[in-house]
Symmetry: C2
Amino acid sequence: MKVCIPLRAAALALAATTVHAAPAAPPVDVFIGTAGDGHTFPGAARPFGMVQLSPDTQVRHFRQSYPWASGYRHDDQSILGFSHTHFSGSGHSDLGDVLLMPYSGETKLEPGYPERPFSGYRSRFTHADEKAEPGYYAVRLQDHRIDVELTASERVGLHRYRYAAGEPAKVLLDLRQSIYDYASKNLWARLRMRDAQTVTGMRETRGWAPGRQLYFAVRFSQPIAARQLLNREEGVEYKGFAPPGKTPADKVLVEGKALVGTFEFAPPPGNALLVKVALSPVSEDNAIANLDEMPGWDFDAERGRARDAWNTALSVVDIDAPEPMRKMVYTGLYHALLAPTLFMDRDGSYRRPDNAVHKADGFRFHSTFSLWDTYRALHPLLTLLAPEQRNADFVRSLIASRRHSPYGILPVWQFHGLETWCMIGYHAVPVIADAYMKGIPFDADEALAAMTASAEYGPYGGLEHYMKLGYVPIDLEPEAASKTVEYAFDDWTIARVAEKMGKRDVAARYFKRAQNWRNVFDPKTGFVRARKSTGEFRTPFNPVQSNFGSDYTEGSAWQYSWYMPHDNAGLIHMLGGDAGLVAKIDQVFDAKVDEAVYAHMEDISGLIGHYAHGNEPSHHVAYLYNYAGAPWKTQARLAQIVASQYSDKPDGLSGNDDLGQMSAWLVFTALGFYPVAPGSNEYVIGRPFVERATLNLPNGKRFTIRAENLSPANGYIGKVTLNGQPLARSFLRHDEIVAGGELVFMMQAAPNKDWGKDRSARPYTQTPYR
Amino acid sequence: MKVCIPLRAAALALAATTVHAAPAAPPVDVFIGTAGDGHTFPGAARPFGMVQLSPDTQVRHFRQSYPWASGYRHDDQSILGFSHTHFSGSGHSDLGDVLLMPYSGETKLEPGYPERPFSGYRSRFTHADEKAEPGYYAVRLQDHRIDVELTASERVGLHRYRYAAGEPAKVLLDLRQSIYDYASKNLWARLRMRDAQTVTGMRETRGWAPGRQLYFAVRFSQPIAARQLLNREEGVEYKGFAPPGKTPADKVLVEGKALVGTFEFAPPPGNALLVKVALSPVSEDNAIANLDEMPGWDFDAERGRARDAWNTALSVVDIDAPEPMRKMVYTGLYHALLAPTLFMDRDGSYRRPDNAVHKADGFRFHSTFSLWDTYRALHPLLTLLAPEQRNADFVRSLIASRRHSPYGILPVWQFHGLETWCMIGYHAVPVIADAYMKGIPFDADEALAAMTASAEYGPYGGLEHYMKLGYVPIDLEPEAASKTVEYAFDDWTIARVAEKMGKRDVAARYFKRAQNWRNVFDPKTGFVRARKSTGEFRTPFNPVQSNFGSDYTEGSAWQYSWYMPHDNAGLIHMLGGDAGLVAKIDQVFDAKVDEAVYAHMEDISGLIGHYAHGNEPSHHVAYLYNYAGAPWKTQARLAQIVASQYSDKPDGLSGNDDLGQMSAWLVFTALGFYPVAPGSNEYVIGRPFVERATLNLPNGKRFTIRAENLSPANGYIGKVTLNGQPLARSFLRHDEIVAGGELVFMMQAAPNKDWGKDRSARPYTQTPYR
């Protein structure tokens, strides 16, 4: 593997025609997470950009979709093409829209097979010929002898293809290809010549989201000399009367389910053909209008703008840390700034959850909300570090989505405006609640209405039973144990918002619902368990059992029984006191677990005992020791997790990055604290992994974290000061950070078992039941 | 057959709860054309309405589509349901959108088989239980014991279902059903609950027009008590995560390719459930907004409004004639006022030929242009009789379509905004030209640009060769002979417009192109023949041969050789003078033709010799005698045609009505004149079939036609007076009609062979070649 480091990127920029004056770039390795189960992509995008332009290496086969969820796997040796939409780190998948492939020589309309070079348009590549940095990706296509470079603005992807000297330039556009591909995914597509340099089109797919329409405009830097517009469908019952154009070369427009376009050009000046591709949620005309976002044809300048955008975005924190930690944290921050992606035209048009078109009124519509994952740490990280307006846009996008939801509820797992119904919970609620509690400005009344509507929508995920019984019954609804505890937490965040808004009745109702986790906690076994509608726990009970549709969601009792982050005091009580919690969490980590136990669940990865860092239900668990007065144990576990679950290698994420949640965990943890209970306005102190980090906050203030005597040997906190005063408690308050100041950790080799031990020093327990 | 006559309609209205004061209704039998090859539908619509709500009787089978082009065949004995879009008289077909079927008893999700009563939701009916008039249709569904009544506003269909006393009301909505149906036609569909009384949805189909999206809103007169939203697809590779709702009864929304909804209601007051269905080209929300076009639930009042709209529309002419002629002519006028249909929401939104959404700027967008048929007589009839603004809207719709055509050309056969590429020619051109020559107001410069763009678009129908060679070569393009003569006529109309606009260069160029018919006329054989690119006529030549893709379009040399309506003088010259033309046309009619010769071509029907009144290429032929100074022969032929090709029975149209062209022929012919060459501003005088007709012209003036001594025996014109002065010529000028006045025919038993014989008395010959 050969990854890009800033010096190399700068050197490349210097070598190019137009040199852009770039500020110092934080070290990011976009290949981290592209191997193993990370499912990240190495391509070019702007922060939260609509276009995420990246190479696809996958083999078209539905059953093998999981490993290629982002289109690219680091261990592949050939590239299929470059498409404009990707999820960063998802488990399930879709996208891979508008695949372009430059080629030389004979036109081959099929991609061919990786194991048979030259069997199609696919080309071999090596990592030695691959270079990437935020906003830029480059590779040499060996079989075609073409150097490819990619960059992007928010809505436009820019390609530069350098062909062998004097050779004609050729590009293939394949609208059949897709991520999570299968024969009947494409519902319809259109490809249309607009002028000598411009092609537009659309594709409608039945994928993760049904009936998804995406429009695009492709503009080449020089006139098309020859072209073919083809529909490769076979066995169509009725094809309609033929439009003008006798051959694929004469066609102005082609429609169907299996479209391919080929475009040939005279040998381009400097051997370089440039291609812009704009996307639109709404129409081909809007895609053309979106092209104006990127005027001109100066690739290096665009690359410079993308890098500037990233440097600005990443400069929210200045980090001093030994390598590779500094790179890992900045890469984590990079991955945290990829979604929720913009999904709106320049004129404000976007596609709503009911698949209708709407114009945003004074905000930017974002989509791609992987909420079951990202409510935990990604959104709290963005709320802390991203500009206030950006956060307000995220919340307003959620609320606008609810306004136009056919169900009248907030998104569950949304992308391109559409709902996938993936995973459980109503976790848009804690995202909104956390933002509200931290002062992000939006219409609180509509937000609260949206939250309660989501929490009270009976047909969703057993809510009708949950509201009646106080828990989700497993005989009526799968994954009932997980659903009950997650609903209870979401309910607590509604109560928090209602309380702050002075709506006492709503607060009381939801504080009560927040206690529902107790209804599925079995004190006898000490586990959260699935209960039947008749009241008894389901038997037989096996705490290591997990399966799709079982009692738990992508997890087992060993993973799900500690999820009442708003009521850890209650959990401690259930477990017989502090010692009980400490013993249980120790058991989680220290258990000898046969990996085969979880091997059937793709998402349960990154195992330390039963602790599965590769999936989200575990993410808060190491921090629970603080609630029992034993932060030194948290500190030790974090060292263990960071060392085993993250690295600066392509397989440096132990599980799906899940649109930035895995990365946000690392960023928070490296800074020394973590938002165990979003909505609480508290961050539980872990331990820092960086020597110094200055948060350049949206309000203009700075908050610096320093770790004195940090070294691999000194993994424990001796003492902590906040603004020079000793800090006895093992948590921080949000207002303490945003006020600016300095947090200093004195690190040492031996645990300080007294710090954070006192009851008063422990993080937020529960709001009393009223 | 039991058809509705006005007295019965009035009686029905009186019997209803709310009596609408209806003006005297002209006699229309909407069942004329529903048997044989007429392909008309008997359902309810407003003039040019977007909703054309009619019963469908067809059997779902692709290969049998032709007979059910309008969904209904008079000889069928069972009804499948009532859908909201139909073509009136087309050959090819599509539509049949949003099929509703009220039912009683057990819910059956499949339509079942006509030959097996109660095998599905289909129901038997008899014509004795069927009643209809313009804007109203009623039938009793025997198997369900339900009385159905239908009426419509422009965008909303209104159903009234009367169930047996005390029975619950049940309705099925089948989004699988379609006209010209086949398994893969449905690309996607959606069905969504909006409130207790409202359901919305969409369907996207790959039919005659590809990728057609249509949206709808269904509102019931009382709350839905129980429902099922189902997708009956099988073998779907990936269905996505399940949305809320465990059973079809819980669903709020369903998407897929094979949707069915069932809706049940408490026994309705008066046993009558009413249902409104609004369509929208654009969105479900717009469909809901379109519902407001029809506020309230007063079926009889709505029926009255529809009848008033028709009475107003039909009152453009007052006719005295013996029955059944009066009914036949009014029914013809009714059929002439069904298309081009409105295709625009109340807010002005419509779908363009590039399938994008647009808002009309100051006009009403109409679609359903069956131009190869309708440019001949339907559009001239509308230009003469329909309000100026309506005609301007038709032309502006054509021009707007060209503005947004991916090809930059005018529509060929358009419906729902989309192009089908059906038939030949660029016959939007003569529609626009005729309207322009007759003073309909629109932007002439854009119109001329649109016309020349269409005439010069090389990839369309061999135009590149036509422009180079002066004819379409048969070795490079099928149906070359027909295309050449039709292009030449269209070109002449462009020249006429350019000449009137003072654009002499354009006029000269197109007057020259208008002579191109000569390049395919073979003086040796006396026929229009297909020529090869090398110059020679294709051999072997058989003047009775016809076939799809042959030398001619739905015709033979015997049918196509007389089509240069702008240059009949040239034709006469080619045939060796007047006697030559008369002899040839006599041969056309008098030939003894084995019907088997044309039996393989569905569209060639209504044969008299080689004359095929059932298809359009023959429509002007009987009028050609006038050009040779023998109008008495035209008079005789018209009597022969009217007597044999039209009747007041369901099979009273001898061929497809083709969106009103067959009917418009009858209306013009009955009045005594016909627009042989649209764009000439001349009407060739045939002979009247009515005793008196007063045209109530859009400009407020009246033009009366009287036929004195008219009787079956007196079929010849003795003399003609215009405003009291003898009229020696055998044609009228458009300005003479719109000035108002009186045209009197003195009919007699013997032909007057002198009238119209003089060269100066003959209709327009050719504009000299410049």
